[in-house]
Amino acid sequence: MGEKFQKSDEELMLNVQKGDMAAFEVLYDRYQKRLFHFILRFVRERVLAEDILQETFLRLLKGKRRFRKDSRFSTYLFIIGRNLCLDTLKSWEKRHVFTSQESNIERTTDKSKGPDKLLEETEMGKIIQNAIQSLPPDQREVLILSKYSGLSYDGIARIVESTPAAVKQKAYRAMLSLKQKLKNLDK
């Protein structure tokens, strides 16, 4: 198992194609947090995000033979996740109305901090969350991917089916908007 940690994502995925369970587990552990953070920030509902996370990895497994060895694994995985998010949101919008503007995203609670500090951080987190959520969808998506997924702009461009230059511009405009909205945060 130790050797597997030294292998690249692409090598591990090729092993998964041959039925290597341990390789799949390493990939899961490497990406579950990053991918979940992206999905949750995208769909804003924890239960939904967990379902999508699970389904993303199941689809990865079912379609394992489609992965080509010259592809980048992180991009491949995030494309599956993003497409699932979009499909899920479309079907949810048809069947449900989001009545609350606040999302169901839970916060990390650091028990070493006092209650006042926790409350302050919770409030700040909510402000930032709401500011990001109020951005146009395409800008929000690109900003979330560039900040929280650890992907390169080339990878993000492939995921959102755009060019790296266009992605950078969108992310820059998103940041400018966000900067305006968070102007008073540190005062």
């Binding site: 579950q32 497994l61 079912k62 900040k147």
Partner: protein
């Protein structure tokens, strides 16, 4: 570098994506341009503030569900036995071996090799020490071993897994290609000696292929 170009790359700088030259150019511009420097500082603050939107990791039940599904899915993953064989290693090495052999043949064809054997054998001093068959066998061994070993060194790719098995495979394929060609080319010589030489080629090819790949894989493992 103009300010417009810089603005597009500010986020790349914050995300740590800029390479050496790009990074240096960006820093030089920021040192010289106060407007861009101010903008950079403000965006950096915003970028850092985004970390305050913290999220818990997913529940452990997710992993359990995914692993259970993976077990079923991967247990049924039927991998044909030939797909685990390193086709690229075999293909490259056999091509290489055939190529070398053809070059050797063009310079020094099989019948010339056997004539050389005959000449050596007829020298009574040589013949006194070495039986005829052994000389043919040794020459066949060299003829089988040398091209496959050189080819294995030049063309072997990923050989960390099962080098012995792979070596046997490439040796066998090489011998299977060459032996019929060899026999057809040398009908005028004594059949028994041709057979012994062919045995030498087979042995040389198998041992050369196996030995070369095994040694290479050991050296690469130790080097890493």
């Amino acid at each position: 570098m103009s300010c417009e170009i810089i603005k597009n790359d500010i986020l790349s700088l914050l995300a740590g994506e800029l390479t050496g030259d790009e990074h240096s150019r960006m820093l030089r511009h920021l040192e010289a341009c106060s407007l861009c420097r101010t903008e950079m500082s403000e965006l950096e603050k915003t970028w850092m503030n985004m970390d305050r939107w913290e999220i818990e990791k997913p529940s452990s039940a997710i992993k359990a569900n995914v692993m259970a599904a993976a077990k079923d899915e991967l247990a049924g993953a039927h991998v044909p036995w030939w797909s685990t064989f390193p086709r690229s290693v075999i293909f490259q090495t056999v091509l290489g071996a055939l190529g070398f052999s053809m070059i050797i043949y063009l310079i020094f064809p099989y019948d010339k090799i056997i004539n050389l054997c005959e000449t050596l054998i007829l020298k009574s001093a040589f013949f006194a020490y070495f039986p005829k068959g052994l000389i043919y066998f040794l020459l066949g061994l060299l003829y089988g071993m040398v091209p496959i070993s050189i080819s294995g060194i030049c063309f072997s790719g990923r050989i960390e897994d099962n080098p012995l098995f792979k070596g046997l495979g490439i040796g066998a394929i090489f011998a299977a290609f060459l032996i019929p060609f060899f026999i057809v080319q040398c009908p005028q010589f004594e059949a028994g000696l041709i057979f012994i030489m062919a045995l030498g080629i087979i042995t040389g090819a198998l041992s050369g292929g196996t030995g070369t790949l095994y040694l290479l894989s050991k050296m690469r493992t130790e080097a890493s």
